[in-house]
Amino acid sequence: MEILQNALKALVAREAIYFALLAIGLNIQFGYAGLLNFGQVGFSLLGAYGIAITVTTWGGSYWLGLGVGLAAAVVLALLLGLPTLRLRADYLAIATIAAAEMLRLGFRTPSATEITGGTQGLQGFSGEFYELSPFPLDKKYHPFGILFTGQELWLLTVGWTLVALLVLAVWLWGRSPWGRVLKAIREDEDAARALGKNVYWYKMQALIVGGVIGALGGAVQATATRSVDPDTYLPIVTFYAYAALILGGTARPLGPVIGASLLFALLSVTDSVLRDLTTGDNPVISSDILDSQAIAATRFVLVGAGLIALMAFRPQGIFGSRTEVSIDAK
């Protein structure tokens, strides 16, 4: 029962919101336009630090900070897109992953401690957000038998509303002529170009919009944890988001959300099961064989194996249709 409840909580938890937002951004870039942004975590870092630095370091307002973070994401997208969007897809992949790592190293260096808090990160910047909460912050709520504090509930409400609005936007975009151009670019950008579409600019738009949504994800995550820590913005986060996106199905508005929720529910279940097996009086697996670090690592092993299996057998995702893919074979 506890396993199920953990899984249920993971379905709606802030982690799921975070990865859903990252993956929604990637869906526009990768799913619709075919762009390989491997530095989504860098955009998320900017969204988070935008608030943290504006509020904690400079004493500005939370909302100004949110704006700063999103604006920084636009700048990063322009900076990365300008040189690489005319080139083969891998160049963007390499440039984005490098830029994200560079940002992380730059933000965590002790020489930048005065601004970014160095390796310690920054805390205490989300007060203004929680002041708006209609739920008393410390009150306990039990929807569906799962325990949430008022603080959590407020964040989850805002977070999931944001996700819902963005899913709606992606749905509208996907059915619009704009979305049609993106799909055409994904299929064959020369064809789109020959039909008078400014491919470069469309790709840039997709990169910017997806990056800004990634930054929103970072902002939500930082607000939820009330802190930023440079070492949570590791490249693996981006790949988690890809795993969520591909699991849920690319180029579908709901794909990233289903994927993120499912991924975290699955991980939560495996985690609980493995921990159950290794603890207690008479563990099935001795904790000498599988310590807690190894359990954490096992989750990643499963994510990795899942990504390979999906790409090999169901590149359209769990819920994707088979027809689209069979066309590929021709």
Partner: protein, 329 residues
């Protein structure tokens, strides 16, 4: 229906006659000046490393005609296409697009998408049907100046729905003409090779072009479809468009083109009406792969053509006369 077909055939014949009349006074030398050119190429040169892929001194494509661009493999036809449509950049040269008789646009350094918007649309040797989009979406994509293609208006369907419906109607009309209307909702990836060629041509027409540039439209198409493709190409001329197409098959060229430009080793070695050109020994040489250690000097090319010119012109005049008589009946 039959009367419609007859009318279409008539229209095509008339267009051919008109085109032939326009060109009947033009001499048959490479780089000759045409009375009403739609695309004028000057000194365009493209090198890949040490290899000269294209080196065209002067070339004019006539308006309202079907011009064939022929030549052996590696002659530089597709490269010239790529250059003219902005998909490649030359080291040197200029070209001018004249959408109407008295407007002219310099096209060098114009990006491919702007070339298409200006009215020069192209297709590709290997068809670029967008497989994971429906046939109808392929068509609708090509329409220009769509409100809904802008990122923010696209979120508000009421801003672009009316235009989208008009585009869809036009797309269905064109699909019907190309006998693809029953496939409208299917993924383009499910079409046969020939159908993809048709779709690509139909899609190009959605941009409402002035010049249609077809890169080997018949390549890989089964013979049953060839004839229908040819008719569609002729219909473009009847609708007032200029067509430039790359082709290998001399029979096809003879059948539908008004003017033929022959390329070899990057340069233009001969120009003229199809019959004249196919009789030119240098063209035959080039096709049969006869070895010339140096590029053929122009004088040498000009001479035999000039000899034949009188005869051919008479032939054409006779043909025109005959056609006019038929049309008059």
């Amino acid at each position: 229906m039959p009367s419609n077909d007859i009318r279409a055939v008539d229209a095509a014949r008339e267009a051919k006659v008109a085109a032939a009349r326009d060109l009947s006074d033009v001499s048959h030398e490479p780089g000759v000046v045409k009375p009403d050119a739609i695309l004028v190429v000057d000194g365009v040169r493209r090198q890949f490393g040490g290899l000269v892929a294209v080196d065209v001194d002067h070339l004019e494509f006539p308006r309202g005609c079907i011009t064939a661009l022929i030549g052996p493999n590696g002659a530089g036809k597709t490269t010239l296409f790529n250059l003219l449509t902005g998909f490649d950049r030359p080291q040197d040269g200029d070209w001018e697009f004249r959408p109407t008789a008295d407007t002219a646009k310099k096209m060098r350094n114009v990006p491919a998408y702007r070339v298409a918007r200006a009215g020069m649309v192209r297709t590709f040797q290997l068809t670029k049907a967008l497989s994971k989009m429906t046939v109808l979406d392929n068509m609708k994509l090509a329409a220009t100046r769509q409100q809904g293609e802008r990122i923010w208006p696209s979120l508000l369907p009421f801003l672009w729905r009316a235009q989208d419906q008009a585009i869809e109607a036009r797309a269905m009309e064109l699909l019907a003409r190309f006998k693809l209307d029953t496939k409208a909702q299917e993924y383009a990836g499910t079409l046969s090779g020939g159908q993809r060629k048709l779709l690509e041509m139909a899609r190009a027409l959605m941009t409402e072009p002035t010049i249609v540039m077809l890169d080997e439209p018949m390549a890989g198409v089964n013979p049953a479809l060839t004839q229908s493709l040819l008719e569609h190409v002729k219909a473009l001329r009847s609708d007032g468009m200029s067509v430039i197409f790359v082709e290998h098959d001399m029979d096809v060229v003879r059948d539908i083109s008004d003017w033929v430009v022959v390329m070899a080793q990057g340069g233009v070695i001969a120009e003229g009406p199809p019959d004249v050109v196919s009789a030119n020994p240098h063209v035959i040489d080039a096709y049969l792969g006869a070895r010339h250690d140096e590029a053929l000097p122009e004088v040498e090319l000009g001479a035999p053509l000039a000899d034949d010119a009188e005869a051919v012109r008479e032939e054409i005049a006779a043909e025109i006369h005959e056609t006019e008589k038929e049309a008059g009946q």
